[in-house]
């Protein structure tokens, strides 16, 4: 299969089940909502070392938020509910509560809730109070600039993490341009984040390493600079590879984003698009590139 | 004329333990079979059923100033139990503090025929009698509080014990009381200075006497006057952790005079003072077992709403301080005081669980059922409607274990109850709900079905679920009339108020008059209650 003369390898991206929480962060204006959200989702590229993968999905207009103020929508992905609770407590507590005028709310129905506001409330030292509005409980913690409002519970749902594709290009410049274009297109789609810097990951990763205690290491098979040493199977002329990793609230969101992203990435100078998998043994979700693109 | 035939009779006073017998009734009394013209007698076929004398409640707050304050304070309690009027009965309301008629109906429907109102200050006993008159279908009496009476304390101070005796005789007659009640002797007087008593030798402010003196003096007087019921005692430190010691000390003190210790569950806690009470059931049961002159009623906790009410003003105040909410206090001149606070006993409350255990353990650890009687100190530990449930807890160990498991973990810790295997028999239940209280009250015609007894009896349908069995007797006969038939109340009739009126030296009246001028705001002449101003009544002789 070819798109814009770029070969799409007949392979599949192998993704895993994850847990997702959708968080609406609001503030007096969009600037401060974004500031809080960016910090809360920061250092959230990979569960390997960050505990969660997180990103801002979109900005929300006042009529889209529970308190009628500008906001942003952020997604947090973790491997378990328990980890989600820990991550949200830390991130919302340290990054959102501390941010001027902020508030944050659960942005998703369904799933099983974790108690976040109900625990952060103790920061109020006895002066916290709650409001039960439309069967949702909101905690109000007095702050030096006013009050911090946070919903008692955030729903945690099943999600899909680790959707991906690789852009194999003739040089680094083209490769980056294609990846950037893909990310730009994918960012407009709902329900996904691309947790790595600017949505792009250059390191790739594989499980295992020659070193004891190092559980993951660089994806050597896609490093052109050592392709002969490792015996990689890269097409001729590939000098640079970038990967885009996608976490989505469900399979469909990942599928759609991969489809649009791959199409956007098929620029001149791109030699091949492929995807990472482990032979289908580890991940429960398989996104076959040909299937996605022909749908 | 009425015959109750073929029933399995449990009549402990006459030693009858489940014998198949016929009971014959004429003119409101149990009579020999030969006095009955069977062609005219109405027959209740009790075959396959259980027959017991009518229930006798030795301690219940059903009428008078405090109870009515409870009704007035708690309109929310009215909504818990509402009874519409019927062709034969009045409407009524209230679960823990039911209105007067409803009180009569509910007791009647539970198979009870005699109930003792546990306390009235003589100054307001007239109120109690007015209410008692409005409680149908049961006979009743009222205990008169004397443990903080100024005149008595003055007599003790001045060493004029004969005077005290005459005064007591006059007072119980004037108030048309049935027995002498002592509530926190001296403590209620001290409460009028914001204080209390903690020990038997603490001083009563302004009188220089001690709780010990008050107890022994009244104990001796009670004995000398040959009142049918021994002193009815609510001692010191009600509800406080560690009060078991003072209770046992008081029992030791009163053993020679005889004493009935009411709602002993509230008086039997271990633990450090000020800490959470623990059950001291073993200790108290041992004391009760050892002392021949002592009897108790339990005041068993029934989970759910209650209205606490007692003449023990300081105890009520400290309860109010602990739980908040509504509180009534009423200081009564020269005599007594009291207080109220509504409360809900919760299974998942560690303290309430402990109290529940304490009561049940006392029931199971006191060897002689003739010394321990069933009460919930209605409505302090829960409404009297909880009796059938308590009976089931005593008779059914599996049920008891299940209920135990539902308690708060803290209450269950170190509890004695799981080890107690005893299950009460029907005969024993008949003792603690009928024979025992009647005998201890000195009511010769109550609590048994021998010839000459008042024709008050209950016919139960046997049921494995003892709560169901004792909740809904099939037949209840009061004074020879069928008041409950097939589980339904079919008749409302007045009950009698029983009172004693011991003799005294009329000379004492001059002293009392002087005392009235000094201490009271009403005159001596307007104080005494005359039997003709009461409803149906019966004087019980003192001999």
């Amino acid at each position: 299969m070819h798109i814009n003369e770029v070969e799409i390898e007949d392979t599949f991206a192998e993704a895993f089940g994850m847990k997702v929480a959708t968080v609406i962060i609001t503030a007096i204006n969009e600037k401060w909502a974004k500031t809080a959200a960016q910090l809360a989702t920061g250092f959230g590229t990979s569960i390997i070392a960050c505990g969660c993968e997180a990103g801002v999905v979109s900005t929300l207009s006042p009529d889209q938020t529970p308190d009628g103020r500008p906001g942003v929508l952020a997604l947090f992905f973790t491997t378990s509910r328990k980890e989600m609770e820990k991550q949200l407590l830390n991130r919302l507590g340290q990054c959102v509560m501390t941010s001027p005028t902020s508030a944050c709310y659960n942005g998703m129905e369904g799933g099983k809730p974790v108690t976040i506001g109900g625990k952060l409330r103790y920061f109020g030292d006895g002066f916290q109070s709650s409001k039960l509005i439309n069967n949702r409980r909101f905690w109000r913690i007095p702050m030096m600039d006013g009050e911090f409002v946070i919903e008692e519970k955030f729903n945690v749902c099943s999600a899909v993490g680790g959707g991906n594709f690789f852009i194999l290009a003739e040089n680094q410049k083209v490769c980056l341009a294609a990846a950037e274009k893909a990310v730009k297109v994918m960012k407009k789609l709902p329900g996904i984040i691309m947790p790595f810097p600017g949505g792009i990951v250059r390191s790739g990763s594989k499980i295992g390493s020659k070193y004891k205690g190092q559980h993951v290491s660089v994806n050597t098979s896609y490093c052109p600079s050592i392709q002969r040493q490792v015996g990689a199977d890269l097409p001729a002329g590939v000098n640079s590879v970038l990967e885009i990793v996608i976490d989505g609230v469900d399979e469909e969101a990942v599928r759609q984003s991969m489809c649009e992203g791959i199409r956007a990435a098929c620029l001149p100078g791109i030699l091949k698009i492929t995807a990472g998998n482990y032979g289908g043994k580890l991940g429960q979700y398989h996104f076959h590139l040909h299937k996605i693109l022909s749908a | 004329m009425l015959g109750i035939t073929g029933g399995k009779v449990f009549d402990p006073i006459n030693g009858i333990d489940g014998r198949l017998m016929d009971i014959w009734i004429k003119d409101g009394k149990v009579v020999p079979e030969e006095m009955i013209d069977k062609s005219e007698a109405q027959i209740i076929d009790a075959s396959g059923k259980v027959v017991m004398p009518g229930g006798v409640d030795i301690h219940s707050h059903i009428a008078g100033a405090k109870v009515n304050s409870g009704r007035k304070m708690c309109p929310e309690d009215s909504l818990r139990l509402l009874r519409p009027r019927s062709q034969i009965t009045r409407s009524g309301s209230g679960l823990t503090v039911p209105s007067t008629h409803l009180t009569g109906y509910l007791y009647s429907e539970m198979g009870y025929t005699t109930v003792m109102e546990a306390a009235a200050a003589p100054l307001v006993a007239r109120h109690t009698h007015e209410e008692l008159e409005d409680i149908p279908n049961i006979d009743k009496g009222v205990f008169i509080t004397m443990g903080n009476n100024h005149f008595i304390m003055k007599c003790i101070r001045d060493g004029e014990l004969g005077k005290a005796k005459d005064y007591v005789a006059w007072l119980v007659g004037a108030a048309k009381g049935f027995a002498i009640k002592i509530v926190n002797p001296g403590g209620v007087e001290n409460w009028k200075y914001g204080k209390n008593v903690q020990n038997l030798d603490d001083e009563v402010i302004g009188f220089g006497v001690t709780p010990r003196q008050i107890l022994t003096t009244l104990g001796q007087i009670n004995k000398d006057l040959k009142l049918p019921h021994p002193l009815h005692i609510h001692g010191l430190r009600l509800g406080q952790a560690g009060n078991v010691d003072i209770t046992i000390e008081t029992m030791e003190l009163m053993n020679e005079f005889n004493g009935h210790f009411c709602h002993v569950q509230f008086m039997s806690y271990g633990g450090e003072r000020g800490s959470l009470p623990q059950s001291a059931s073993k200790k108290i049961a041992q004391a009760i077992n050892e002392k021949s002159g002592v009897s108790v009623d339990v005041g068993q906790i029934v989970f759910g709403p209650a209205t606490t009410m007692t003449s023990d003003g300081p105890a009520q105040f400290s309860l109010h301080q602990r739980i908040g909410g509504k509180w009534i206090n009423d200081d009564l001149e020269s005599e007594s005081g009291g207080g109220l606070a509504p409360l809900t006993f919760k299974r998942n409350n560690p303290l309430h669980g402990t109290m529940w255990l304490t009561g049940l353990e006392i029931f199971l650890l006191v060897d002689d059922p003739w010394k321990v009687f069933l009460t919930t100190d209605h409505p302090n530990a829960g409404p009297f409607l909880g009796y059938p449930q308590v009976i089931r807890l005593l008779m059914d160990r599996d049920y008891r274990t299940r209920e135990f498991e539902r308690l708060h973990t803290k209450a269950k810790k170190n509890a004695l109850l799981p080890e107690l295997k005893r299950e009460y028999t029907l005969y024993e239940i008949a003792i603690i709900t009928r024979g025992g209280p009647a005998r201890r009250l000195g009511l010769k015609n109550k609590g048994h079905l021998g010839i000459g007894a008042d024709a008050d009896l209950t016919v139960y349908l046997p049921d494995d679920d003892k709560e169901e069995m004792f909740s809904h007797p099939a037949w209840v006969v009061k004074d020879g009339e069928i008041v409950v038939k097939d589980g339904h109340l079919v008749r409302e009739q007045p009950g009698r108020t029983m009172y004693v009126s011991p003799n005294y030296d009329p000379q004492i009246e001059e002293d009392i008059k002087a005392h009235f001028k000094e201490s009271y705001t009403i005159s001596f002449e307007n104080y005494s209650i005359r039997s003709e101003h009461m409803g149906p009544n019966e004087k019980i002789s003192c001999d």
Binding site: P62, D67, R69, F127, G146, E147 | C74
Partner: protein, 288 residues
């Protein structure tokens, strides 16, 4: 401040069919107690069975059908035409379904209701929504005294539920409330939120005196004018509470259309009642 029109809401009413229509046959001033006018009881009953439901006309126990004409059966949507200002306890203890009264209604409407919806297009007499446990009570006219308060002797009142009064409300609005939301677009009388335990009361008209007397927790928000608060309330600061935005947003979603956007406005925050727990708060909108 006030409601301009409740467009979405009205459409909703118009869209429902198969309602049971009740109409009082003869106007009377004798009190009628009609706890049986309740969707829970109507939903599975035939015309005949509804006809036979008990009501009290003064002290006379009667059948519903003797006092009301009944059109329809087996529905949990009840429409009452005309004035029923002497009919008490309509919809009390209901748990689901809907009642619309196209006129004034008597005391205790929606008392202890636990779910469902009641709409009064006229005025409601005293004690509307007393001891409410859930659901929505929407009064388009005025409400009487003790709206959303507690039963006699109870120290705990409304627990869950929403009461909206588009007109004015009388004394003791939401007294002893422990959860829930009460919004009054007009004025309210003395002792609003008295002895309140928690919950929110929003007043868009005039807030009379002694608001929040004895309040332990909870919020009273005054968007309009206000009498001076009790001396047992302490002024804290001028704030822009975020939760008010959540409340307003929710009310908008229910169908109230506000004249102007109150979100993000400034309020004086008072805390009290210092004689109770003192954790209650009264917000007074600061006019710019």
């Amino acid at each position: 401040m006030g409601c301009v029109s409740c467009v979405g809401f009205n459409q909703e009413i118009a869209g429902i069919k198969d309602d049971i229509v009740l109409r009082l046959k003869e106007p009377t001033t004798i009190p009628i107690e009609a706890e049986s006018i309740c969707p829970d009881l109507f939903v599975k009953r035939s015309y005949r069975e509804i006809y036979d439901l008990p009501v009290y006309y003064g002290r006379r126990k009667m059948r519903l059908g003797e006092l009301f004409s009944i059109d329809g059966e087996k529905s949990d949507f009840i429409t009452i035409e005309d004035d029923v200002s002497n009919v008490k306890k309509i919809g009390s203890k209901m748990t689901s379904g809907k009642i619309v009264v196209h006129g004034d209604v008597g005391r205790h409407v929606g008392a202890s209701m636990a779910g469902g919806e009641i709409v009064i297009r006229g005025n409601a007499a005293d004690k509307a929504g007393i001891n409410m446990q859930g659901g929505l009570l929407w009064i388009k006219g005025n409400a009487g005294h003790q709206t959303g308060s507690a039963l006699p002797g109870e120290n705990k009142g409304v627990n869950h539920g929403v009461i909206i009064v588009e007109g004015n409300a009388g004394l003791e609005l939401g007294a002893c409330m422990r959860r829930g939301i009460i919004a009054v677009l007009g004025d309210v009388g003395d002792f609003a939120g008295a002895r309140m335990i928690a919950g929110s009361i929003l007043v868009f008209g005039h807030l009379a005196k002694r608001a929040g007397a004895g309040m332990k927790r909870g919020s009273i928000i005054s968007f309009g004018s206000s009498e001076p608060l009790l001396p047992t309330y302490r002024y804290e600061a001028i704030v822009q509470p975020v939760f008010i935005g959540i409340l307003l947003k929710y009310l908008k979603e229910l169908g109230i259309v506000f004249e102007s956007d109150m979100t993000g406005k400034s309020y004086e925050r008072y805390s009290g009642d210092i004689n109770a727990l003192g954790k209650g708060e009264i917000f007074i909108h600061v006019k710019s």
